[in-house]
Amino acid sequence: MIRRRPTKFRSLRGKSLLVAFAALLLAMQAPFMFTSPLYAQQTERGKELGRRVKCMCGGCEDSATGCNHTGGSFSGPCDTAKGMQKEINERVNRSESDDLTLQAFVQEYGPTVLIVPPAKGFNLAAWVTPVVMPILALILVWFLVRRWRNRATLATASGPGVSSEFLSRARREAGKEYDE
């Protein structure tokens, strides 16, 4: 003989199954519901710091913040960039200074991780040269112009090399044209 469970119990069991299913769904969704994706979490300072380091995946020349893998399966930060951005965010949350954060990346990846060369040692030349060269060129042009002007003055002082006969003819003809 088969004993049937009371209806109330059956409905209770159904409810608990429903709750369990809902809980399972909730658990599956939890990472997405409570942990929003990386790009939604970044602070402005974190984004700014991410712009100062290069994504080191080797497949792009972008910054960690600007990583955008063209031709990849996803147009956005790759796993390497996300890892770097996550590290930046953690350091920002620990209130570490910008220099300390960047230094940590330099120690890990070498100076190539910085998107612009640091202004020290030989790399200082990268910054100084584009400023110094135009200034030197400007000075050169200044001297050149002065030399040209001096020459022009001398040329005028010595007078044009034109014969007096030619000059008188030119004056005569100019006068004739004016009278006409």
């Binding site: 997405f32 939604a40 290069k54 060369p117 790399n123 060129a137 400007l138 042009v141 002007r149 020459r151």
Partner: protein, 689 residues
Amino acid sequence: MDILGSFALLLALLAAVYAIGAGIAGIVTRKTLLTKSARNAGLAVFILVTIAVGCLEYYFFTDNFSMAYVAAHSNRALPFYYKFAALWAGQEGSLLLWTWLLSTYAFFALLVNRNKHPELMPYVGVVLAGVQTFFLTLNNFVASPFAVLAGADPSGVMRVSALSDGHGLNPLLQYPEMVIHPPMLYLGYTGFTVPFAFALAALLGRYPGEKWIHITRRWTMIAWCFQSVGILLGAHWAYAVLGWGGYWAWDPVENASLLPWITGTAFLHSVMMQEKRGMMKVWNIWLVFTTFMLCILGTLLTRSGVVSSVHAFAQSSIGNWFVGFLLLVFVVCFASYWRNRDYLRSDNQLDSLVSRESSFLFNNLILLAACFAVLWGTLFPVLSEWVVGSKISVGPPFFNKVNIPIALFLLLLTGVGPLLAWRKTSFDALKRNFAWPLLGGVVAGVVALVFGFRDIYSLICLILGVFVTLTILSEFFRGARVIAARDGSNLISAVGELTMRNTRRYGGYVVHFGMVLIFIGIAGVPFNKDVQKEMAIGQTLNIGPYLILCQNFDRVATANYDSERATLEVFRNGKSEMMLYPERRFFLSSQVTETMVAVQSSPLRDLYIVYAGRSPENGQPVIHAYLNPLVKWIWFGGIVVVLGTGLAMLPNRRTALVLRPVSEPSWGERVSATTSPIGAIAQRGDASD
């Protein structure tokens, strides 16, 4: 048919070598028959290379997958217009395109001048043939586009084999602009060979005067215009396809295209000094040489992989050939200059620092500074690796920091230079010419500040943009007013008359105005915004004044690619404004994904939507929205630059002198003749250049 292309290329090389030999022999022996024969050989090069290009296109259109190049860059499902563009999808085809465009320029340069400049043209022919010989050597022996696929049959004998289908075209290149962007850029690069050839020829042959500059002015402008269009099309392609919301990333290959453009711009300005005053002869010769060498350097950077670039598809070990050629060109140029330097003495000296001459001098200095800064930043990683042993990165912030102040100073000179007179400008003239434009610029700056324009560089750019625009307008207005007063015509037709009388000058102003528009477009960058969000159907995203509602996601399958597309409705102030459909395409043959950005462009801002794909974390569709102010001004500015260049290339309309009976003027009237209309025309004629 299969060997016709490679045979034509080989014959073209022989013809180019013959053109050099016969040309030199003709110059030395002064035998016209030899120089004519050399010229005909130069013309034949174009026909032979055209046959080779035609053959390669034929292989693409007939899906001849026994050709290695066709199999690597095309497939059966590729649309016909991309099959046409696949010619320059890889290195071998790109170099063939280069050679073909170069031979086209050489053909027309030799043909147009066949009965002119008998002392100059043999030298020009030799230089052009020399450059062609280098590229044809590469086409024949280093990067032949006519290599066939071969495989061993069962008996071990190698036979030509064919694939059933090709690997397909790089998806990045499957975009309308990519059909025209590379040829435009190459037309710029190769076009600078013509002024280079004439400059070197004039130096070698000690050709008298500034005639070589008159001959090459239009050639230089054509090359410069193509280079400008090529650069802007590349920027637009990057904006529309790469999906990162920007158009210029200071990538080494982008920089490589900018370098000869900058020196070419400097040359177009400084030649006026030589034409009008016989000054800066050495400078001009070296500007042309440098521009040509930078074109070769650009190809070296693009092709060699010596610096890291996103243009990875173009890298190979061909760089050594270009280094060798670059060194050879430098040695030839330097030796020619050293031997003939006395021929380049200036006829005149600078009279005043406040003059048109000095403004050209500063303009050139600033352009060269910009060129140097870009080159320095591009090559510094290589230099650092040589010197210190560790490679460093030089990214966009470096180029922006260094180049923005230089560019703004250049913009200032764009306004100042044309208002200065030749030789010397008086203080009164300065006050008269600059007071209103300067006031207009300051007022614009104050208004912008009131409306919250807080970025300093953008603010300066706006002030200078208004200043330059007003100086240009005042130039048109002053000239047109004189014509309108004399002819009794209205001001608009007087502007047309004025422009057509001196197309070079007023076309130049139009180009300057185009550059102002481009600068203003770039000044919008600090105000860019972007938001990235996972969006299920029915979810919304806010950016600036827009609310974006996700309506649907669907899939479309074609023979060439599968596409995933978002349907987005854009609202503004609660009102539905438009539908946007950003896409991601998955190309079947190359197994690569590509974005197709949806852009709603207006003069004020671009709403730029990227369907970034499915989130790697949870598979949800991700939409990346950008709000980019003023971008449209850049593309519009580019169109204005092209129109201005076209205008500047037109011949001047000659002034017709109409005699009419007049009453006998009194003595007093005679004295004041200089203030009469004819006097005014004469005065304007003096100032018009």
